[in-house]
Assembly symmetry: C2
Homo-oligomer: 210 residues x 2
Amino acid sequence: MRAAGGGALAAAAAVTAVALAVAAWRRARPVREVLFFPSRPCCIEALLAEAAEPGAPARPCPCPLPSGDTALSRLVRRLLSARRSLDLCLFSFSCPQLARAVQLLHRRGVRVRLVTDAQYMGLHGSQIGRLRHAGIQVRHDQHSGYMHHKFAIVDRRMLITGSLNWTAQAIQSNRENVLVVEDAEYVKAFQDEFERIWEEYNPANYSFFP
Amino acid sequence: MRAAGGGALAAAAAVTAVALAVAAWRRARPVREVLFFPSRPCCIEALLAEAAEPGAPARPCPCPLPSGDTALSRLVRRLLSARRSLDLCLFSFSCPQLARAVQLLHRRGVRVRLVTDAQYMGLHGSQIGRLRHAGIQVRHDQHSGYMHHKFAIVDRRMLITGSLNWTAQAIQSNRENVLVVEDAEYVKAFQDEFERIWEEYNPANYSFFP
C-alpha cells in the first residue's frame, strides 16, 4: 500500500510538472493566429466585465446572444490583453463593442493612441467622437488619399492587422481576415509606420490656408 | 610570383564560395517583407518585358517615370515569381499595371483563379472584365456583405495580404500595408479560406429565384 501510494504521488507530481511545462511553453510561444470573418454573433459582456474587474463574480448577461469562442471574441481578448499601450491605425471605426473594449483599456491606464481617416471619422455611427470625448488621443490625416490601414499594436509586442475595418458590417457580414502576430520584425515595421503617421498627423502640422 | 598567383587564386575561390553560400542562403531563407504605400510612381515595363521574354535585350520605355525600387515594383516582382499557380481574392481590382502582370502569368501557363466582390467588379475602371475576357477564371459572391479580402497566394507557397485594394488610388494615394510571407502555417490558413470561397462561389450554387 505504501509503495502504491508513493507511486501515485510520484505520478501526480509528474503530471503536475508536465502541465506546468506545457503552460510555460504556451506562455513563451509567440502568438500566431489567423481570424476569418464574418464572425458568428456573440455576447462579449463577460469578457469586458472580467477585464474591468478581474476575479469579480460573473453576472449573467440578459441578451440572447451566445458567449462562445468566435473571431470577434478572440479579437477582443487580444485587445484586452494590453497592459501598457495600444496603438490603433484604423480607416473606419464604428463597432460599439470594440469601442467599449478600447475605452475600458484607457480607463485602466493603458496609453491609447488612435490614428484614423478624416473623411470616415465623421460618418454616421463612427465611434471616434465618443473615444475622443473619453479622453483618448486621436489624430487624422489632412489629405485627399485615405488613411486605409487597419492595424493595432498591443504593448509594442503584438501586431493585429488585416482587411477588417472595425465596423459591425465588416464583422458580421463581410469576408475578412485578421492576422495576430508576436514577431519583433513585423511589429517593428508597423510600429515605425505608426510613429511616422502619428508625427505627420500632429495637429501642429495642419495647414489651414492651402 | 607563383606563390602570389596561388594566393590570389585561393582568395578568388574563397570569395566565390562565400558568394555562392550567401546566394543559397538567400534562396533558402523564407521571404518576410512588409510593403507600405503610397508607392512612389514607377514604370514597370522592364519588369513585365523581362517576365514575358526572360533574357531578351531590354528596350528602354519612352514614359517619363523612373524604374526604381518601389513598393509597387516589389509587389509586381513577387507576383511575377509565380510558376504554377496564382490564387487571388480581391475586393476591388482596377489597377491596369497589376492586371497586365496577372494576364502575363496566365499567358505563361500559370493557373490563375480570381475571387472578387459582385458589387465592386462592375464599377468603372474594374479590370475583372478584361481578365475574364483573357480567359482567366473569375468567381464572385452573391451576398449583401462584401468579399472584402485583399490577398494573393503564389504557387501555394507565398502569401501576399494586407489593406491594399488593387486600385491605382490605393497604390498612389492611400496609406496602406502589404505583408509578403513564405510561412506554411499562414499560407495554409489563407489557402483553405480561398478554397472554401472558391467552392461557395461556384456558379452552380448561385440562386436566381430567392
